[in-house]
Symmetry: C2
Subunit: 297 residues, 2 copies
């Protein structure tokens, strides 16, 4: 999708890749489908931990193969995401909203049930699956007769950004890949700049999909295949979100607005460039959105 | 656009025609463009009255030809629509929210300025322009290898429904055309059933784009080319609206939800049918939407 209003506002040619229109309303369907399609025939139960979209994606992918699914979710996950997981027939197991609690709860569940774990991002199958979005983008741009200058993607656990970096470096190495993350959850930028994976962070951002810490495989691939990582403010995320709702008429969630926020807050890097921005997901209640905007004051 | 979730929920195959993604965020761009492109070279000023989307559409179409534009708007028109009109460079003239006040204010303006009037719906150029949406729908369905059973469109002033009826009767007479309107603004259904244009109504509906009374030309064309008109409840509009936001991730305005509401409230007529629903526009503030849902209480 394109918007002439946003192009004028940003001084760049923006192309939005609409992963909020993907199955389960998020790019996570790609990785989950790729992982589930590779499971042995006999697999009866899969499990994962997720703040939301990966959980729904795994629940969906498992249900397509008639495999049972259990999802460990932090108790502060948005209601819309809990409902989505349940709607695909998975069981939800709530835990404290820390990576430690999520991993411990999942480990206990696996010990008890023998479930096959499909991790949310630090997994080769997941990374390869998410990378298909870049494969599609490159193909679609070629069909339209151009090559993008830059591809911008939000980064949380790093499955999407690592997959995109990997795919772009193989298929269109001339395209620059940029990660974008909230300043309130900037472990990816710190890791990238330090050349060493930073794990200590207390995420503080409305972009609930990006509160996770960069995975090990993800960090390694991002260092090799991504050009840079920029951060954006919370005000910038809200402004970009409102523009996406009101200008492109697309109902996206806060994490999905981080790419546009990056273009708006780092204008000089994008001026007169052809920029593809991944809109990562659209799973949010209107009520939650209204509360969020009220909190803006 | 399609949604497998909505198809399952409605027991029908639904195809959404996305006029909220049209220029100015509404189908009204079609009629306004058609009218403005037919004006004589020397035209300096156009004017109209509109509850919003036609005003923005005329302002946009006029600006594309460097023609000045004045729009008479009821003072209860949504802020988003006032801002849109202003953003395209038109002057806004506020008036009381009645058809009489709108027409009187416009007449005075024309007497003072000699502006060329482009009416919102009761106009051949407007009707023909809006009808292009049906021409596109028929063509797009043929490309996809099918013919729809039914085409459902909201009806307010009747420009869109009359244009659709006209186009479908010429291009695909086997397709049934249904109008849908809020029970709280049901003049079109009463006119259609009585065979005589009803003008007395006090519209009471959240679908602000459908508060207008059916035009003369529109009524005549609708009687000849439309199969039926059904009404929907306010609760039905809100439910359809919420489903469109959360399931299709499309940010549409209340009037745009009336077609889906009709399919949901008159289920038996649509069961197992291929139904094209026109999503007419997407011009609404999130804040206005939140207030509206609160009022649902």
């Amino acid at each position: 999708m394109t918007s002439s209003t946003l192009n004028r506002a940003c001084g760049a040619d923006l192309y939005f890749k609409c992963e909020h229109l993907q199955k389960v309303g998020a790019f996570k369907a790609r990785g989950a489908a790729n992982a589930v399609l590779q499971l042995p025939e006999a697999t009866a139960l899969v499990a994962t931990h997720s703040s939301g979209n990966h959980g729904a994606a795994l629940a969906w992918a498992a249900s397509e193969r008639n495999i049972r699914c259990k999802v460990v979710m932090p108790d502060n996950a948005p209601d819309a995401k809990k409902r989505a997981v349940a709607a695909y027939g998975a069981d939800i197991v709530l835990c404290q909203p820390t990576l430690e609690a999520r991993e411990a709860t999942l480990a206990k569940l696996v010990a008890e049930t023998g479930a096959h774990v499909v991790p949310p991002f630090d997994d080769k199958r997941i990374i390869a699956g998410q990378g298909t979005v870049a494969q599609e983008i490159i193909g679609q741009c070629r069909e339209l007769g151009f090559s993008p200058d830059l591809l911008v993607s939000p980064v949380g656990g790093g499955g999407l950004l690592a997959g995109i970096g990997l795919a772009v470096s193989a298929l269109a190495p001339e395209v620059k890949v940029l990660g974008a993350e909230p300043a309130g959850a900037d472990d990816a930028q710190r890791s990238f700049r330090r050349g060493e994976r930073v794990t200590e962070q207390e995420p503080d951002t409305i972009a609930d999909g990006l509160r996770t810490t960069l995975g090990v495989r993800n960090f390694s691939l991002i260092c090799r295949h991504v050009n840079d990582i920029v951060t954006v403010s919370e005000a910038g995320i809200l402004e970009a979100l409102s523009l996406l709702w009101h200008r492109t008429k697309q109902w996206v969630e806060p994490s999905a607005a981080v790419g546009l926020a990056a273009v708006m807050e780092h204008r000089a890097r994008f001026r007169n460039k052809r920029v593809v921005i991944v809109l990562t997901g659209g799973n949010m209640d209107l009520a939650a959105a209204a509360t969020m905007l009220d909190g803006r004051g």
